[in-house]
Amino acid sequence: MNDDALDPLIHVPTRLKIVATLAALPDGDTLSFTRLQDMIGLTPGNLIIHLRKLEDADYINSEKTRNGTVSVTTVALTSQGRKALAAYTEALRDLLGGL
Protein backbone atom coordinates (compact mmCIF):
# COMPACT_ATOMS: atom_id res chain seq x y z
CA MET A 1 0.00 0.00 0.00
CA ASN A 2 1.23 3.53 -0.77
CA ASP A 3 0.15 7.12 -0.16
CA ASP A 4 -2.46 6.83 -2.93
CA ALA A 5 -4.63 4.93 -0.47
CA LEU A 6 -4.99 8.11 1.57
CA ASP A 7 -7.98 10.31 0.75
CA PRO A 8 -6.35 13.30 -1.01
CA LEU A 9 -9.06 15.61 0.27
CA ILE A 10 -8.17 14.89 3.90
CA HIS A 11 -4.47 14.25 3.35
CA VAL A 12 -3.62 17.95 3.55
CA PRO A 13 -2.41 19.34 6.91
CA THR A 14 -5.00 22.07 7.29
CA ARG A 15 -7.95 19.96 6.21
CA LEU A 16 -6.76 17.08 8.38
CA LYS A 17 -6.81 19.45 11.37
CA ILE A 18 -10.27 20.72 10.44
CA VAL A 19 -11.72 17.25 10.08
CA ALA A 20 -10.03 15.94 13.26
CA THR A 21 -11.30 18.96 15.23
CA LEU A 22 -14.89 18.57 14.02
CA ALA A 23 -14.75 14.81 14.62
CA ALA A 24 -13.99 15.48 18.31
CA LEU A 25 -17.51 16.85 18.69
CA PRO A 26 -20.35 14.38 19.29
CA ASP A 27 -22.44 13.51 16.26
CA GLY A 28 -25.11 16.17 15.78
CA ASP A 29 -23.13 19.05 17.29
CA THR A 30 -22.06 22.04 15.23
CA LEU A 31 -19.18 24.46 15.70
CA SER A 32 -19.16 28.15 14.91
CA PHE A 33 -16.87 29.33 12.14
CA THR A 34 -15.12 31.75 14.53
CA ARG A 35 -14.36 29.07 17.14
CA LEU A 36 -13.06 26.72 14.45
CA GLN A 37 -10.93 29.51 13.04
CA ASP A 38 -9.59 30.21 16.52
CA MET A 39 -8.74 26.54 17.09
CA ILE A 40 -7.12 25.95 13.70
CA GLY A 41 -5.36 29.32 13.53
CA LEU A 42 -6.21 30.25 9.95
CA THR A 43 -7.31 33.49 8.35
CA PRO A 44 -11.04 33.55 7.47
CA GLY A 45 -10.25 33.47 3.74
CA ASN A 46 -8.00 30.42 4.00
CA LEU A 47 -10.46 28.59 6.21
CA ILE A 48 -13.33 29.27 3.80
CA ILE A 49 -11.32 27.80 0.91
CA HIS A 50 -10.64 24.58 2.80
CA LEU A 51 -14.18 24.32 4.14
CA ARG A 52 -15.60 24.76 0.65
CA LYS A 53 -13.53 21.84 -0.63
CA LEU A 54 -14.74 19.66 2.21
CA GLU A 55 -18.32 20.78 1.70
CA ASP A 56 -18.17 20.05 -2.03
CA ALA A 57 -17.26 16.46 -1.13
CA ASP A 58 -20.14 16.37 1.39
CA TYR A 59 -17.68 15.79 4.25
CA ILE A 60 -19.01 18.79 6.15
CA ASN A 61 -22.09 20.92 6.02
CA SER A 62 -22.31 24.57 6.93
CA GLU A 63 -25.27 26.67 7.87
CA LYS A 64 -25.62 30.42 8.14
CA THR A 65 -28.17 31.73 10.61
CA ARG A 66 -29.15 35.26 11.52
CA ASN A 67 -29.32 36.31 15.14
CA GLY A 68 -30.63 39.85 15.00
CA THR A 69 -28.07 41.84 13.06
CA VAL A 70 -25.34 39.22 13.50
CA SER A 71 -25.04 36.28 11.15
CA VAL A 72 -23.46 33.14 12.52
CA THR A 73 -21.97 30.39 10.38
CA THR A 74 -21.76 26.93 11.88
CA VAL A 75 -20.05 23.85 10.48
CA ALA A 76 -20.38 20.17 11.27
CA LEU A 77 -18.90 16.93 10.06
CA THR A 78 -21.40 14.84 8.10
CA SER A 79 -21.73 11.10 8.55
CA GLN A 80 -19.93 10.76 5.22
CA GLY A 81 -17.12 12.93 6.62
CA ARG A 82 -16.85 10.73 9.70
CA LYS A 83 -16.70 7.64 7.51
CA ALA A 84 -14.02 9.27 5.36
CA LEU A 85 -11.92 10.14 8.41
CA ALA A 86 -12.33 6.59 9.76
CA ALA A 87 -11.21 5.19 6.39
CA TYR A 88 -8.29 7.64 6.29
CA THR A 89 -7.21 6.63 9.81
CA GLU A 90 -7.45 2.97 8.87
CA ALA A 91 -5.36 3.57 5.73
CA LEU A 92 -2.74 5.38 7.83
CA ARG A 93 -2.63 2.44 10.26
CA ASP A 94 -2.11 0.04 7.38
CA LEU A 95 0.65 2.18 5.92
CA LEU A 96 2.46 2.56 9.23
CA GLY A 97 1.81 -0.92 10.51
CA GLY A 98 -0.37 0.24 13.43
CA LEU A 99 -0.37 3.68 15.08
Binding site: D3, L16, T21, A23, L25, D29, L31
Partner: protein, 210 residues
Protein backbone atom coordinates in the same frame (compact mmCIF):
# COMPACT_ATOMS: atom_id res chain seq x y z
CA UNK B 1 -1.42 29.35 11.07
CA UNK B 2 -0.09 27.68 14.17
CA UNK B 3 1.74 24.73 12.69
CA UNK B 4 3.56 22.03 14.53
CA UNK B 5 7.16 21.71 13.26
CA UNK B 6 6.12 18.71 11.18
CA UNK B 7 3.21 20.54 9.68
CA UNK B 8 5.38 23.53 8.92
CA UNK B 9 7.68 21.24 7.00
CA UNK B 10 4.79 19.81 5.11
CA UNK B 11 2.97 23.07 4.43
CA UNK B 12 -0.72 23.13 3.65
CA UNK B 13 -0.43 20.71 0.78
CA UNK B 14 2.45 19.17 -1.15
CA UNK B 15 4.52 16.47 0.49
CA UNK B 16 2.99 15.20 3.65
CA UNK B 17 4.20 11.79 4.60
CA UNK B 18 2.00 9.30 6.48
CA UNK B 19 4.08 9.54 9.66
CA UNK B 20 3.59 13.31 9.78
CA UNK B 21 -0.09 12.85 9.04
CA UNK B 22 -0.46 10.32 11.86
CA UNK B 23 1.30 12.63 14.31
CA UNK B 24 -0.84 15.59 13.28
CA UNK B 25 -4.06 13.59 13.41
CA UNK B 26 -3.22 12.40 16.91
CA UNK B 27 -2.26 15.88 18.12
CA UNK B 28 -5.28 17.59 16.57
CA UNK B 29 -7.68 15.00 17.97
CA UNK B 30 -6.26 15.21 21.49
CA UNK B 31 -6.14 18.99 21.45
CA UNK B 32 -9.74 19.25 20.22
CA UNK B 33 -10.98 16.74 22.83
CA UNK B 34 -9.17 18.73 25.55
CA UNK B 35 -10.63 22.03 24.38
CA UNK B 36 -14.18 20.68 24.10
CA UNK B 37 -14.16 19.05 27.55
CA UNK B 38 -16.59 21.01 29.75
CA UNK B 39 -15.10 19.65 32.99
CA UNK B 40 -11.37 19.10 32.44
CA UNK B 41 -9.49 16.71 34.74
CA UNK B 42 -7.51 19.50 36.44
CA UNK B 43 -10.75 21.24 37.46
CA UNK B 44 -12.29 18.00 38.72
CA UNK B 45 -9.23 17.15 40.81
CA UNK B 46 -9.08 20.70 42.20
CA UNK B 47 -12.75 20.49 43.15
CA UNK B 48 -12.13 17.08 44.74
CA UNK B 49 -9.29 18.41 46.89
CA UNK B 50 -11.25 21.52 47.88
CA UNK B 51 -14.39 19.59 48.80
CA UNK B 52 -12.32 17.19 50.89
CA UNK B 53 -10.66 20.13 52.67
CA UNK B 54 -13.93 22.01 53.23
CA UNK B 55 -16.06 19.09 54.41
CA UNK B 56 -13.17 17.32 56.14
CA UNK B 57 -12.47 20.52 58.06
CA UNK B 58 -16.07 20.63 59.24
CA UNK B 59 -15.91 16.97 60.25
CA UNK B 60 -12.86 17.75 62.40
CA UNK B 61 -14.80 20.45 64.25
CA UNK B 62 -18.02 18.44 64.76
CA UNK B 63 -16.68 14.97 65.51
CA UNK B 64 -16.03 15.76 69.18
CA UNK B 65 -19.43 17.36 69.80
CA UNK B 66 -21.57 15.60 72.39
CA UNK B 67 -24.37 16.29 71.79
CA UNK B 68 -24.06 17.17 68.11
CA UNK B 69 -24.58 20.89 67.47
CA UNK B 70 -23.50 21.10 63.83
CA UNK B 71 -20.87 23.23 62.10
CA UNK B 72 -19.60 26.28 63.95
CA UNK B 73 -20.25 29.83 62.76
CA UNK B 74 -16.69 29.91 61.40
CA UNK B 75 -17.31 26.85 59.20
CA UNK B 76 -20.30 28.26 57.33
CA UNK B 77 -18.44 31.00 55.39
CA UNK B 78 -15.82 28.44 54.33
CA UNK B 79 -18.50 26.09 53.05
CA UNK B 80 -20.43 28.91 51.34
CA UNK B 81 -17.19 30.19 49.80
CA UNK B 82 -16.45 26.75 48.42
CA UNK B 83 -19.92 26.44 46.89
CA UNK B 84 -19.71 29.89 45.27
CA UNK B 85 -16.16 29.42 43.91
CA UNK B 86 -17.03 25.94 42.67
CA UNK B 87 -20.14 27.21 40.89
CA UNK B 88 -18.42 30.10 39.13
CA UNK B 89 -15.31 28.09 38.21
CA UNK B 90 -17.47 25.33 36.75
CA UNK B 91 -19.67 27.72 34.76
CA UNK B 92 -16.70 29.74 33.48
CA UNK B 93 -14.69 26.72 32.31
CA UNK B 94 -17.78 25.07 30.81
CA UNK B 95 -18.77 28.20 28.90
CA UNK B 96 -15.25 28.52 27.48
CA UNK B 97 -15.21 24.87 26.37
CA UNK B 98 -18.68 25.07 24.83
CA UNK B 99 -18.15 28.44 23.15
CA UNK B 100 -19.38 28.18 19.56
CA UNK B 101 -20.70 24.65 20.08
CA UNK B 102 -24.39 24.01 19.40
CA UNK B 103 -26.35 20.80 19.55
CA UNK B 104 -26.66 17.83 21.88
CA UNK B 105 -23.66 18.75 24.05
CA UNK B 106 -25.43 21.82 25.39
CA UNK B 107 -28.02 21.44 28.12
CA UNK B 108 -31.51 22.32 26.94
CA UNK B 109 -33.58 24.85 28.94
CA UNK B 110 -35.88 22.06 30.18
CA UNK B 111 -32.86 20.12 31.48
CA UNK B 112 -31.48 23.19 33.24
CA UNK B 113 -34.92 23.81 34.77
CA UNK B 114 -35.03 20.19 35.99
CA UNK B 115 -31.63 20.57 37.67
CA UNK B 116 -32.62 23.86 39.31
CA UNK B 117 -35.87 22.25 40.51
CA UNK B 118 -33.92 19.27 41.87
CA UNK B 119 -31.74 21.59 43.94
CA UNK B 120 -34.71 23.73 45.00
CA UNK B 121 -36.70 20.72 46.15
CA UNK B 122 -33.93 19.63 48.53
CA UNK B 123 -34.99 21.88 51.47
CA UNK B 124 -38.57 20.65 51.10
CA UNK B 125 -37.43 17.03 51.18
CA UNK B 126 -35.28 17.69 54.23
CA UNK B 127 -38.15 19.40 56.08
CA UNK B 128 -40.47 16.53 55.16
CA UNK B 129 -37.95 13.95 56.38
CA UNK B 130 -37.48 15.87 59.59
CA UNK B 131 -41.24 16.08 60.12
CA UNK B 132 -41.44 12.33 59.53
CA UNK B 133 -38.88 11.82 62.27
CA UNK B 134 -35.91 10.84 60.09
CA UNK B 135 -32.75 11.36 62.12
CA UNK B 136 -30.69 11.97 58.99
CA UNK B 137 -32.97 14.77 57.70
CA UNK B 138 -30.34 17.46 58.26
CA UNK B 139 -27.26 15.44 57.33
CA UNK B 140 -25.15 17.12 54.63
CA UNK B 141 -25.32 14.05 52.42
CA UNK B 142 -29.13 14.22 52.32
CA UNK B 143 -28.68 17.27 50.08
CA UNK B 144 -27.01 15.15 47.40
CA UNK B 145 -29.58 12.48 46.71
CA UNK B 146 -32.19 14.32 44.64
CA UNK B 147 -29.79 16.44 42.50
CA UNK B 148 -27.58 13.38 41.99
CA UNK B 149 -30.51 11.31 40.74
CA UNK B 150 -31.75 14.21 38.58
CA UNK B 151 -28.33 14.56 36.93
CA UNK B 152 -28.16 10.79 36.40
CA UNK B 153 -31.62 10.79 34.83
CA UNK B 154 -30.87 13.70 32.49
CA UNK B 155 -27.55 12.15 31.46
CA UNK B 156 -29.15 8.74 30.86
CA UNK B 157 -31.77 10.37 28.64
CA UNK B 158 -28.91 11.94 26.67
CA UNK B 159 -27.09 8.57 26.57
CA UNK B 160 -24.08 10.14 28.29
CA UNK B 161 -23.04 7.35 30.59
CA UNK B 162 -20.06 8.94 32.34
CA UNK B 163 -22.04 11.85 33.83
CA UNK B 164 -24.87 9.40 34.52
CA UNK B 165 -22.44 7.36 36.62
CA UNK B 166 -21.29 10.50 38.41
CA UNK B 167 -24.89 11.40 39.28
CA UNK B 168 -25.60 7.91 40.62
CA UNK B 169 -22.35 7.95 42.61
CA UNK B 170 -23.26 11.31 44.18
CA UNK B 171 -26.70 9.95 45.13
CA UNK B 172 -25.04 6.82 46.56
CA UNK B 173 -22.74 8.99 48.71
CA UNK B 174 -25.88 10.72 49.94
CA UNK B 175 -27.50 7.43 50.92
CA UNK B 176 -24.34 6.04 52.57
CA UNK B 177 -24.01 9.26 54.57
CA UNK B 178 -27.45 8.65 56.06
CA UNK B 179 -25.98 5.66 57.90
CA UNK B 180 -22.84 7.41 59.09
CA UNK B 181 -24.25 9.44 61.94
CA UNK B 182 -24.49 13.21 62.28
CA UNK B 183 -20.76 13.91 62.43
CA UNK B 184 -19.70 10.99 60.25
CA UNK B 185 -21.91 12.14 57.39
CA UNK B 186 -19.59 15.13 56.91
CA UNK B 187 -16.66 12.78 56.48
CA UNK B 188 -18.64 10.55 54.10
CA UNK B 189 -19.63 13.63 52.09
CA UNK B 190 -16.04 14.92 51.87
CA UNK B 191 -14.35 11.61 51.08
CA UNK B 192 -17.20 10.37 48.88
CA UNK B 193 -17.39 13.49 46.71
CA UNK B 194 -13.61 13.67 46.48
CA UNK B 195 -13.48 10.06 45.23
CA UNK B 196 -16.29 10.69 42.74
CA UNK B 197 -14.57 13.79 41.35
CA UNK B 198 -11.12 12.18 41.13
CA UNK B 199 -12.67 9.10 39.48
CA UNK B 200 -14.46 11.35 36.99
CA UNK B 201 -11.15 13.16 36.30
CA UNK B 202 -9.33 9.85 35.69
CA UNK B 203 -12.07 8.64 33.33
CA UNK B 204 -12.07 11.93 31.43
CA UNK B 205 -8.27 11.90 31.09
CA UNK B 206 -8.38 8.31 29.85
CA UNK B 207 -11.08 9.11 27.28
CA UNK B 208 -9.11 12.12 26.01
CA UNK B 209 -6.15 9.86 25.31
CA UNK B 210 -8.13 6.95 23.85
Amino acid sequence: MSHTPDAAAAGNGGTFDPQQAATMLDQATRQARREFTPSPPWLLVTRGVLVLAALGGIWLTVRGQHPYRGPTAADIPVLAGFVVINFFATVTVRERAMSGVRGRSRLRPAEIATLVAAVAVVPAVMVALHAAGASFAWYPTTVMVVPGLAWAGISAARRQWQPCGVGLAVALVGVVGAFAGSAGSWLVAGVGLCLVLVGDAATTAWRQRA
